[in-house]
């Protein structure tokens, strides 16, 4: 093989633009080399140029696979050569290399992926295969578009890409999912985020006469819960690390917020998504929720916010009595979690300095003194025991001034402080906040941001969420079952453990589309009715 081909190394971790350029260059080089080879072989393969690749392949039989790929590309370039006028277009230098990549894979290519064990999720080839073969583009489109036919709901929606070199590309928009997919494959962002629907196409924002004509008009109501906000109360992990013990905080949060959104606010289409590392996002997709302005979002966020203030703020739960129905219900849900997940698993007041925090939150001085004495004499007493000590000592009549009501209130506040969801509230307050799209791959962990089924949210295990490399391996290992061989083509995601998640997403999206369709039909009927009256 001509050595001049070697610069096109698929494993080189360059950024999109550079790889692109390099590829175009190579295509050209290969072009000329191709002809050169043909010329050289003139005497032998005189009759048909199409034999050339075969010859070369036979030659290269023992050479690495990498080069074989290149030869294939070269063949295809030769095909493109037939349309010489298209190829010579300088303005779109990327089109040649690009088209090949895309055209070679409609939804379900049958070829294996060949991803080695060493490859990781930041490898562009891995990401390419993922976006190409596994990402549920169609459902993502239907989810944001709310109907199968393209509309401005999708077309005026902002997407933002984080590129491999950490550059952040905002205000991207696409009429359909095909074009979004194409651009993602071209730029290979390490992740992309979803913003609001704007009053005009985000790409045209600078051509507008008045800047006020460009403003966000709709976005799903979003919530963001992150385990780092629990760092002062979780004992098992900190920072970016998580385990199944502290994941329970997220499970509790999902339960509390989800029921409030459904029962209190009457929302129906709520999707929870694992954020890929240490948290979860909620997308409330009801039409009413999408159209809320910042003022209403702030009100709703305020309704759900119970824990306020930073670590310096002292007591962080200050709620009035009697408990608001929402707080009372949350407390009911959280009580059992407090016993098992907090007292038992987290054991938050195990040591001296830690139980100080507990005593700070209790109202009665003399009771506190008694507790302190007792706990100091039994170092390492479990939190569960300490929690029951409070009531036991209170009942024994230690303190004359003890106010039973105040103690009960304080205990309720403590339960809430240790279990109530800690929301990153800014995300929910603003219409134009961007949030990572579901199903993208978290660049740090390689895990896919899969939806969490709220009916079984207790069973969700973030550590068993498939990583992108797992998934690609699963495609390779897939063999079509005998009885289905003659059936219709199987999508790649159906071959992997991503299947249940995509299916959940699909049914969720269908639910939204069904609701919005009914509304549209109804409105048309009303309008018709008016006409009839005339």
């Amino acid at each position: 093989m001509p050595h001049s081909v070697s610069p096109e190394d698929p494993a080189s971790p360059d950024q999109g633009a550079i790889v692109e350029e390099a590829r175009t260059d190579n295509v050209e080089t290969q072009d000329s080399e191709g002809t050169a080879v043909a010329d050289n072989m003139g005497p032998i393969g005189d009759s048909q140029t199409s034999e050339d690749p075969d010859m070369t392949m036979a030659d290269a039989g023992a050479i690495e696979e990498k080069i074989t790929v290149k030869v294939e590309t070269a063949t295809e370039v030769k095909l493109e050569d037939l349309f010489a006028d298209m190829d010579s277009d300088e303005e779109f230098p990327s089109s040649t290399g690009q088209d090949i990549k895309i055209s070679s894979s409609p939804e379900a290519p049958a070829s294996p992926v060949h991803i080695g064990h060493t490859s990781n999720s930041s490898d562009p080839e891995v990401m390419r295969s993922f976006y190409q073969r596994l990402f549920p583009w169609r459902y993502l489109f239907q989810w944001l578009n709310h109907s199968p036919t393209p509309s401005t709901d999708f077309g005026h929606r902002e997407f933002a890409f984080t590129l491999q070199n950490d550059a952040y590309l905002r205000y991207q928009s696409f009429p359909t999912h095909d074009l979004l997919r194409k651009d993602v494959l071209r730029l290979m962002p390490s992740r992309f985020e979803i913003g609001p629907v704007y009053s005009t196409n985000p790409r045209d924002r600078k051509t507008l006469r008045k800047s006020t004509a460009f403003k966000p008009i709709a976005k799903e109501l979003c919530f963001d819960i992150d385990l780092t906000d629990y760092d002062d109360i979780r004992t098992c992990c900190d920072k970016a690390n998580i385990c199944n013990k502290c994941w329970q905080f997220i499970t509790m949060a999902i339960k509390v917020i989800d029921v409030a959104l459904r029962d209190d606010f009457g929302f129906k289409h709520i999707m929870w998504v694992y954020s890929g590392r240490r948290g979860a996002h909620a997308w409330v997709c009801d039409k009413k929720a999408r159209q809320m302005d910042d003022h209403k979002r702030r009100a709703l966020a305020g309704y759900l916010e119970v824990i306020k203030g930073g670590a310096q703020g002292g007591k962080r739960v200050n709620i009035k009595r009697p408990l608001h129905p929402h707080v009372a219900r949350s407390l009911d849900i959280l009580k059992s979690h407090f016993q098992t997940d907090i007292l038992h698993d987290q054991d938050p007041w195990e040591t001296d300095e830690k139980f100080d925090r507990l005593l700070q939150l209790l109202p009665d001085k003399s009771l506190n003194e008694a507790l302190r004495k007792k706990w100091n004499s039994a170092p390492g007493r479990a939190s569960t025991a300490k929690w029951t000590d409070i009531d036991a000592l209170a009942k024994s009549g230690m303190s004359k001034s003890l106010d039973a009501k105040a103690l009960l209130d304080a205990k309720q506040d403590i339960v809430l402080e240790y279990t109530y969801p800690r929301l990153d509230i800014e995300v929910s307050k603003h219409l134009n906040h961007l949030l990572k799209s579901p199903f993208v791959v978290h660049p740090g962990t390689g895990r896919v941001c899969v939806p969490i089924n709220t009916n079984h949210c207790e069973d969700f295990d973030p550590l068993s969420v498939p990583t992108v490399t797992d998934l690609l391996r699963e495609i390779d290992e897939w063999t079509t079952p005998e009885e289905e061989k003659d059936g219709k083509a199987i999508q790649d995601w159906e071959k992997t453990s991503l299947k249940p998640y995509v299916e959940y997403f699909r049914s969720f999206v269908l639910g939204i589309m069904k609701d919005e369709k009914e509304v549209k039909v109804k409105r048309e009927r009303e309008e018709n009715g008016d006409v009839m009256e005339f």
Binding site: D264, G266, M292, Y303, G310, A311, R321, H326
Partner: protein
């Protein structure tokens, strides 16, 4: 005055003869002021003199400015009411119908006209509209509260708001929840009434969890009626202001009204609304990255707290960085020095991380990058106390905000002692201020304590006038005064020299 059509005219009935329409005598519904309160839906149509036009507007403006100042100073509802009473009586009296005063019509006319004049003056920009709608709503709320119950009832019924009354059966079914959500004031369910509305119509009540919510409906107790009426008032006013702003260019006015209107909106400024670097520049001060540690002794507590957190953790979260960066910008630290300061302060991260994640935000705050308007406006203004007190309360791990407001009393006391405020008298005063939510007073109290001797000196000398001794409502003003007091004498000598420097830079 500008006509505002809320409902479109039926296309078929539209008058097509424009000439006839143009020269026809306008037909207006005669206005009568039946109630004391006014939703200002119909614009006034009678003639008034130019003097009245101006005088009425100025009177109303005075009232609004005072009202806004009350909110800046964190006055409670009751304090505001008692403070505003004499001002309202003087400039914008409004008697109740039952008083039978002969001036009723006149007073209500003035109220009506002045509102619409100011609407014209404040419709032009988004910023003015928002402020106008906020203070007008506050004024409306104030008046609504001291209305007598009967008149209030008549007024509310006249508004035709679509409120669904909660039936007996439903009331009993949710009695527990309704009672709890209402905050326990309900003694007997039978005597209370509830309205049911979409929750979006009462965002304030939802935000404070003061209503029971079910399936998107808010169950509003009768006594919370006010907040709904006010919300409705604000919503309608916002919409009307938007319409006015669109009609303004068509006002096609001669030069009688426009100058008055422009003048009115220019004068609607408050002490801390704007901040200019020229008034806070400190000639001769060494404001540089390496000197911040020294200067920080002149910082107000909020900034000292940020500085201490930064030194402790070698990191600050987003709002902390923003608040501190803008403050530093305000004291005169230039962009290069500011970047040096942050870079060296974030000692635990690499250059690469700093450049990627933090550099841009600092430059953005200085207006070095970002959209056109950001660059032209030289970035953001340093936060005033008002902004720090009311926006973005700090969350877990965050150090921004106002310690007097956002710290618990114990932590606040500890922090004050740590920065050298040990006097028990002062600490007790601060505690009382905090309990009464007078955070400004607490901060100024600490300022006075920390600069006791210097303040006495300048007062005795008479070098500082009343303007330089009034309440501090901006962190940068705190620093400026503190710095000047700490360096009495030194600054003066340097001044001459520095004026030359400045000119050279220009």
């Amino acid at each position: 005055m500008i006509r505002q059509d809320f409902s479109r005219i039926d296309a078929k009935r539209k008058n097509t003869d424009h000439r006839k329409k143009q020269f026809a005598t306008p037909q207006y519904a005669a206005l009568s002021y039946d109630t004391r309160l006014n939703f200002y839906t119909t614009p006034p149509t009678a003639d008034i003199t130019l003097e009245q036009f101006e005088q009425w507007a100025i009177d109303r403006l005075r009232v609004l400015a005072e009202l806004e100042a009350c909110s800046f100073r964190n006055r409670s509802q009751a304090e505001t009411a008692s403070y505003m009473k004499p001002i309202l009586d003087k400039y914008l009296p409004l008697g109740s119908s039952s008083s039978g005063s002969s001036k009723l019509g006149e007073e209500r006319m003035k109220d009506h006209y002045s509102h619409f004049i100011l609407r014209l003056a404040f419709a032009s920009t988004e910023d003015l509209r928002r402020r106008f709608s906020r203070v007008e709503s506050a004024l409306f709320r104030l008046r609504f509260m001291d209305n007598d119950a009967k008149e209030r009832q008549v007024f509310v019924e006249g508004l035709n708001l679509e409120w669904e009354v909660v039936g007996e059966e439903e009331k009993m079914r949710w009695s527990e929840e309704l009672r709890a959500a209402a905050g326990g004031f309900v003694k007997r369910m039978e005597e209370e009434s509830w309205f049911k509305v979409d929750w979006e119509r009462v965002p304030e009540l939802v935000e404070g969890r003061r209503v029971f919510l079910r399936a998107g409906k808010a169950y509003v107790p009768g006594r919370e009626q006010m907040s709904m009426v006010v919300a409705e008032f604000t919503a309608r006013l916002d919409k009307a202001l938007e319409m006015t702003s669109r009609a303004l260019p068509r006002l096609d006015e001669d030069d009688r009204l426009t100058p008055i209107l422009a003048h009115l909106s220019n004068n609607f400024t408050t002490p801390d609304a704007s901040y200019s670097s020229s008034t806070t520049a400190l000639p001769g001060a060494d404001i540089s990255a390496r000197n911040i540690d020294t200067l920080s002794s002149s910082f107000p507590l909020c900034m000292q707290n940020l500085h201490r957190s930064l030194r402790r953790d070698a990191h600050l979260k987003h709002y902390g960085r923003l608040q501190y960066t803008l403050f530093l910008k305000g004291i005169g630290l230039n962009l290069e020095e500011c970047l040096v300061f942050w870079r060296s302060s974030f000692s635990k991260i690499t250059d690469d991380t700093f450049n990627k994640e933090y550099r841009y935000n600092v430059r953005h705050a200085y207006g070095d990058v970002g959209g056109d308007s950001n660059r032209r406006g030289n970035g953001y203004s340093p936060f005033s106390c008002q902004k720090i007190l009311t926006e973005h309360p700090p969350g877990p791990g965050e150090s921004h905000g106002c310690p007097y407001r956002h710290f618990s009393t114990e932590n606040l006391t500890a922090l004050l002692q740590a920065v050298g405020v040990k006097d028990h008298e002062v600490l007790r005063g601060v505690k009382e201020d905090k309990e009464k939510m007078k955070y400004h007073l607490a901060c100024n109290r600490v300022f006075e304590y920390a600069h006791k001797q210097e303040l006495k000196k300048v007062k005795d000398d008479g070098t500082w006038g009343a303007a330089q001794l009034e309440t501090i409502v901006h962190p940068n003003e705190y620093f400026k005064r503190s710095y000047l007091l700490m360096n009495l004498g030194k600054v003066k000598e340097a001044e001459v020299e520095d004026e030359v420097d400045v000119k050279m830079e220009d």
